[in-house]
Symmetry: C2
Subunit: 563 residues, 2 copies
């Protein structure tokens, strides 16, 4: 946690804080005695040498790194910190419920800490499978630990950082430990654990652990006290929960905002979402280095076997073809393959015809549910949505869904609003960094009847929703706020946006035509009677003749208008 | 390096790849036998339990994490990978030269690898202080290792990730090791080391190490072979080096692009840049957790002493005031301070009047050099630049510099071009994610005579340069391509931009006035003689009288125009 003071890091001892930073040339006394950062001398220029620099070089612990860079994890402001903490806890809760085939029921509470300003206690409780006692410490007290990183399967969490980071932020800003309560089933004990992260070692430090009576049969409750700020509106916890309910209709959420009554987001369906399948990497999406490693550790007895076992869509025939093209014997031992041969295999794999990866690893929301969700959240006249068929980037299947809403009570003079989702999680920050924004900006919306200035989002009463589902969403930072602009992903988004855009264009065109028609009709209705009166005067018609003339004129004009 | 296969991670053994993923409830046999990810079953829904999930949870090595997330480090495409590799090597070279007070001379070479497509060998060589033999492995073969993280001082590198990540990317895409050659001075041996990163352990693996004759007395040479793509234009290595030369006029660069002659960027000055000072953290910029840790490990015998020793601008008086306000005895032992007392101290520190942090830790480029640099790089008529006085975010001093160029041969119909720099390093990617872009977008440039649509950059022949110098630049990701939007930083940028904008506005106003005047003059010149002829005809004047009339008319009009 000591993110500034360099002498606290390696040994962590109380050594030599009075020493000046090494200034002279020549070998330094060695890493332990040196590097104590007392107040630096104000006077002369310090000239470092290879030796004096060597004495200052040391390990940086992953927790120290993220503590200092906490904006990378979404903790750059008290307001965002509150949201990120809720978000990370809910990601974990929903993932765990889905893996255990449990319909999720969540309870979320934000309460101001008494006697403090801008401090909150966040509680997130689920009815998930619970956590076995031995794992509690590591899951909540260690960055880069988890089950989702080493597999290819669609889930909300994927890094093994989020919830530990939230606990670390709480501890950094309030000094208070995290409190975890969990139980894995009826008849089993419930545990309550108070813990901290030892940031120098990136290890959990259990302060207190006890068995307790819990009214829940099964589930996990996370409590974190942190420096936060509660506001409503855009980018708030409230917005996040509303959007989460939209994208997860199988989930029930009870939410207690600070000083207000509990709000319930009822589930819209009791059907479980389709369970995403885990897949193997696709041969077209790996790097040479990965192949070398896979061959080295493969349990298969032959190269062909190793290829078949390690990759999706590699059949006996494909494996043999690859070996033949690479001039590597298919029955060679995988462990004996050298770098040069592996390189040949790698190139042969890229050139080989291989089926696209299986896509049952992806569970898009579906265009009907997107339409429904948008109608709940957005007050518009026109809606369109599409789910594209899956594509692949770097060997990872992904699927794009797009929705558009227009008109109604949406503000007509503002820039379009973008609603961004990744694996059903709403993205509320860093729109400028996101591939979704890039794709929306790259489409010429004037083709579809909207106004748009160069380099800007379209203007008008429009909401654009994009959802990316993938076994591995490439986020631009650990805070998972924006999606990296891989070409394949941006291209696919563009296609989805244009497909929806065309539907929008057809609607706007029709509406314009109808408006024109209405205008013309109103001209006819307005002026023909006047012409009738004029004709009556000029030709000295009686009332009946006049009306006949008016009717036949109207007929003629209607007919000519329809042509 | 095995970034996909989950069974290769913990034990790394050849165990049980034929097993199906655990599907049933009940305790799993344990982490070793389980988690082998063979082809997943296609059929039924898998239902996980706390126990089966526990068996899948494991450590994620920092190198694995970054290998899978290589876009976080700037390696998302072959083109960017080439640039990032050059950039990381140059950051290190320039930092080392400056610390050792050596005027940097760099040699950069990109050469295509024979017999391969889209593979390059990158060579970056410097005349810096060199690296002691024992440190070579760690510096280049370990992520999160270095001297710059644990100090507050302006430098290009700060994370201890960059160059090792470049080596890791090379190894991942080509299977080839990095080659480092280094020597710490005349009369000392030069070493050549071939090495890789063991990504599972995040440790260097030395393949070959030898002494050699080197024609250089002192310096370091880095060679990395990688999958890359060489293109010219925006976001290229060429652009990066040109911009680097602009922001580092004391540096000489020889650059050999693929298949072309060497280009030399001569140094513009032989003066060393002012050396930035290292500072202690400021009491207004730390978190409670950091204070607790500092007190725990402080070598001081009293709390007051610990405050004074650990923070900048804390005098005896300030330390005593803080203790008094917090009701903590100033002569208490720092190690005995509890969380509650620390919290009181922390709040007292935030409330205390403390001088702003010293700013000699910052070395801005300076407005004259920015003007000069822009004039070299940008073909414009008008230039303005300013260096703002230093400010503070999260306790870290920072300084904003802004330059604007307008007119000349800049394209008149395009959006403005933004040139972004952080600690003298050009930022070429992710403009949308960057606080600089956010600040530029937030200014109403129409106030200064430019065109601008809602939500877009201004349009016109304009270049806007922003440089952020800080002891700790908060980047939005490890690739250091964009600056995080801390409020204090964005606000300060806005002020700088508006200050330059006003100069621009004055220039554009004057130009407009002059143009109007010219137009009026040309009217006078054109029409007055005609009026003279008309008067001559009407009043029957002779030629002389006519000319007198014309002259006096011109006088009258000029005078009225000037009023």
């Amino acid at each position: 946690m000591n993110i500034y003071d360099s002498d606290a890091v390696d040994g962590g001892g109380k050594s030599a804080a009075a020493a000046e930073p090494t200034a002279a040339a020549g070998p330094a006394p060695g890493p332990s005695a040196e590097g104590a950062s007392a107040k630096p001398k104000k006077s002369e220029r310090t000239v470092e040498t290879a030796e004096s620099m060597a004495a200052k070089q040391r390990d940086i612990s992953i927790s120290e790194f993220f503590a200092k860079n906490r904006h990378l994890l979404g903790f750059d402001s008290p307001r965002k910190a509150l949201l990120t903490t809720v978000k990370e806890a809910i990601d974990n809760a929903l993932d765990a419920c889905e893996e255990a085939a449990i319909l999720p029921e969540l309870y979320v509470e934000l309460s101001p800490v008494e006697g403090e300003t801008d401090r909150y206690r966040v509680v997130v409780e689920d009815n998930g499978p619970g956590i076995v006692k031995e794992q509690i410490g590591k899951i909540f007290g260690k960055l880069l630990y988890g089950s989702k990183f080493h597999r290819l399967r669609q889930s909300r969490g994927q890094q093994g950082i989020g919830i530990s980071a939230a606990g670390m932020y709480g501890q950094l800003t309030t000094g208070r430990p995290m409190i975890i309560t969990t139980r894995t089933g009826k008849g089993r004990p419930a545990f309550r654990v108070e813990m901290r992260i030892d940031t120098l070692k990136n290890q959990p430090e259990i302060l207190k652990q006890e068995q307790l009576d819990w009214d829940r049969d099964r589930g996990t409750r996370v409590e974190i006290e942190l420096a936060g700020k509660y506001l409503k509106g855009r980018q708030s916890v409230d917005e996040y929960l509303a959007l989460t309910a939209v994208a997860n209709p199988h989930c029930e959420i009870a939410y207690k905002p600070p000083g207000e009554d509990v709000v319930i987001y009822k589930r819209g369906t009791t059907e479980h979402p389709v369970q995403p399948k885990e897949i193997l990497p696709h041969p077209h999406g790996i790097e040479l280095g990965v192949l070398i490693k896979l061959l080295k550790i493969s349990p298969s007895r032959t190269v062909a076997g190793a290829l078949k076992e390690s990759f999706s869509r590699v059949t006996d025939k494909v494996a043999e073809d690859i070996c033949a093209a690479a001039k590597v014997k298919p029955d060679a031992k995988p462990g004996t393959v050298g770098v040069r041969e592996a390189d040949a295999l790698f190139k042969a794999m890229q050139a080989a015809k291989v089926m696209a990866p299986p896509t049952d690893c992806l569970v898009p929301v579906g265009q009907d549910l997107i339409l429904e969700g948008m109608k709940k959240e957005v007050d518009a006249d026109f809606f369109a949505a599409i789910t594209r068929s899956p594509k692949v980037y770097r060997g990872n299947p992904f699927c794009i869904e797009v929705g558009i809403g227009l008109g109604g009570n949406l503000p007509a003079d503002d820039l379009a609003r973008c609603m961004r989702f990744a694996n059903r999680v709403p993205l509320q920050f860093q729109p400028g960094a996101c591939a979704i924004t890039k794709a929306v900006l790259s489409v010429d919306w004037r083709n579809y009847g909207l106004q748009q200035s160069k380099g800007a989002l379209p203007t008008g009463p429009v909401v654009i929703l994009v959802h990316v589902a993938s076994v591995w969403v490439p986020f631009t930072s650990e805070s998972k706020e924006a999606i990296a602009s891989y070409d394949e992903i941006v291209a696919e988004m563009r296609l989805g946006l244009m497909e929806c855009g065309r539907k929008l264009g057809i609607f706007l065109n029709r509406r314009k035509r109808e408006a024109d028609e209405l205008k013309k009709r109103s001209y006819i209705d307005k002026y023909i009677p006047q012409i009738g009166i004029a004709l009556q005067n000029i030709l000295d018609l009686n009332k009946q003749k006049r009306e006949e003339a008016v009717t036949s004129l109207k007929d003629v004009l209607e007919r000519s208008r329809k042509l």
